[in-house]
Amino acid sequence: MSNQSVISVENLGKVYRINHQAERQRYVALRDVIAEKFQGLFRSRRPQLDKFSSAEDFWALKDVSFDVKQGEVTGIIGRNGAGKSTLLKILSRITEPTEGRVRIKGRVASLLEVGTGFHPELTGRENTYLNGAILGMSRAEIRKKFDEIVAFAGIEQFLDTPVKRYSSGMYVRLAFAVAAHLEPEILIVDEVLAVGDVEFQKKCMGKMQDVSTKEGRTVLFVSHNMSAISRLCSSAIILNKGNKAYDGTTNQGIQKYLAQFSEISQPATWIDIASCPRQGGRTNVYFHSAAYLGPSGESHSLPVSGKELLFKLRISSDIKRSVSSLSVMIYSPSFQKLLNADSLLLAQAVLLEKGLNEVHVKIHQLHLKPGRYPIGLWLANPTEIFELIESAFEIEVINEDNRQTPEIPNDGVMACDFNIYQPILT
C-alpha cells in the first residue's frame, strides 16, 4: 500500500435549483414554460424579481476537499441531507459537479443499490449478465465468475426461473453476489448494507471486510451504521449541511459525529428524541422522548456505578400493536456496544396502545465505570425494524462515593466487584 492519492477532491460544489412552485409535480409541464414565456413578454420591462422568488439555489455540497489514499477505507458520515449521496453521485459520474473538480486514478465501481437494472421478467442467469454489464463488468469477466456468483447466492436450481418468482431473499442474494464479484480498484458503496435480513447483512459485512482488508482495495463507504463504520473504516469524513466538518481517524470522527446531537442530558428530565437521526427515518412507531434516573434516594439522580439505573421511554404508535423487541443499548465512547437490555431476552412482548405509551427499562446493577456513555434505542418485530437510534443521548456515570475518581487512561469500561488479598501460604 502506497501513500499515493487515488481520489483527489478539490473545492467540490453542487447546486440544485429548488422550484417552490413545482413542488407538487416533479416535472415541468410545457404549458407552464409557455405561460411563463408569455408572461415574460408583457413583463419584460419590470424587474425580474418574481422570476427568482419562486426558485432558490440549494447547495447540496459546498467547498468540499479531501484526498483518499490507495488502500484506504474511508467512511463518509453525516445526517440525512448532509450531502453524502450527492458526493457519491458525483464520484460515480451520475451527476456533474457545479464547481470544483475530482481526480480519480484507477477503475471505479459504485454500488449505490443492489440489483440495479434487474428485470423481473428475465431469468436469474440473464439478470446476472445484465446486472454485471450495468456494473461495468465485461461479458468475458462475468462468464469467468458466473459459477462463483451463483454459488455465493445459492440459487443454482432457480437459474432459469424469472426473478419475479424469486423470494425477496433470493433476489437480494443474487443481486449482492453479482456486486460482490466486481473487481475494481476503487469501490464506492452506499448504504446497501441496510437491506435484507440480519443474516444477509452479516454476509455483506464479511464480504466488505474481505474487500477492504484482504484485497487492499480503496473503498468509500457511506453508512448511518456507526458500528459498521468503526469496524470497516480506517478514516472518516463527516459532512454537515454540504460542508466537510471533519476528516481524520474513524474513532475521533464517530465521537465527533455523535457529539453533534448527543450532549449529556440532565437526569430525571424528559429528553426529546423525536427528531434524533435514526436509521431508515421515523416510521409509524417511534421513540418520542426518554428520561433516565439513577438510584432512588440520591438527590442528584445521576447513574451510579454498580447501582440501579432506570430508563423511562415514551413511544408513539399509530395503532395498537405488540412489539417483540424493545431495547436500550449502552455504547462505549469509541462506539462498541457494551450492553443490550432487550425485551427479547426476557421473552416478553411490549404492548403498545395507539398514541403515547410509557415503558420502563430497569437495569438492576450498572457494571460501568464512571464516564460518559452514548445510549442507543431499538424497537423491532421479527420482520420489521421500527427504530434504531444509535445515539439518542449520553449519560454520565459517577462513582458511588459521589465524586469522580481521577481518570486513568485505558482502565476499561466495565466495573466489577472485586477485592485484592494475599493468601497466606502454609
Binding site: S2, Y27, V28, V108, H119, L130, E185
Partner: protein
Amino acid sequence: MSIQPDMPPAEAGAEFDLILEAGRAEKNYWHDLWRYRELFIILALRDISVRYKQTVIGIAWALIQPFLTMVIMTIIFNKVAGLHSVGSAPYAIMVFAAMLPWMFFSSALSSTSQSMVGNANLISKVYFPRLIIPASAVVTSFADFLISFLILIGLMIWYQVVPSWHILTLPLFIGIAFLAALGPGLLITALNVKYRDFRYIIPFIIQFGTYASPVGFSSSVIREKFGEKIFILYSLNPMVGVIDGFRWAILGDNSPIYLPGFVLSLVIVGLFLVIGISYFRKTEKSFVDII
C-alpha cells in the same frame, strides 16, 4: 458507475485517469460510448427478449399488427377510395413497402420517448453514456422491423413479384430509416425527461403521420394532384423520402423516386439527427437531476 474495461491497471505514480469537472464530460464522450458497447448490446437484448414475454402468441404480434394494418389500408385506399398504385405493382405490396419503415419509425418514436423515464432508476444509480438508452430502444423497434420483413417476402411470393437489382440498395434505405427514427427519437427523449407533455404528443404525431405520410397511397398521387411545388413542401416530412426509397428498392421501376423531394427529405433527416444528438448531449447531464 465508471469502470473502465479498456484501461490498464493504474500504476503507482501514474497520472489521474479521470477528471470530473463541470462541462468536462464532453471530451471523452464518443470514446466512452464505444467502451460501453457491451452494455448497449445487453440492454437492447434485454428489451427485445422482454418485449413478448408473458404474451400468448409472442413474437407473432410483430407480424399480425403490420399485416392487418396493411390489409385495412389496402381496402380503404385501393378499394374504397379507388386509388391505384403506379405501374404494375400490387397495391398490397406497395402499401407494405411503406408500412415497414413507417411502423419502425412510429414504434421507435414512442419507445424512445418513454425509454429514459422508464429507466429512471438505472440512470440515477449508474453511470454510462445516456445515449445508450434511447439508442437501444430504437434497436428494439428495429428487431420488430426485421421480423415483419417476413410478411413482405410472403406477399412477394403470393403476388409472384420478382424484385429487380434495386433490392440490393435496400440496406442503404434501412440505414436511412434508422437515422430518420434516431434523430427525432433523441430529441423527444430529451424533451420528455423535462416536459412530460410529450407523452401525449407522440400518439398524436403518430396517428397524424400515418395519414400525412404516403403510407396508404403512392406519393405520386400527391405530385399529380397538387403539383411539384407542393410536393417539395410535402417532402419536408422526412418519412416521404424514406418511404419512396423503400418503394423504389422493393418495387423497382414501378415506383420511381422524385429526386429533389428525396434529397430534401434526406437533408431533413440529417438536420433532425444533428439537432437530436446535440440537444440530447446538452441536456443529458441534467437528466438525473430532473427525472
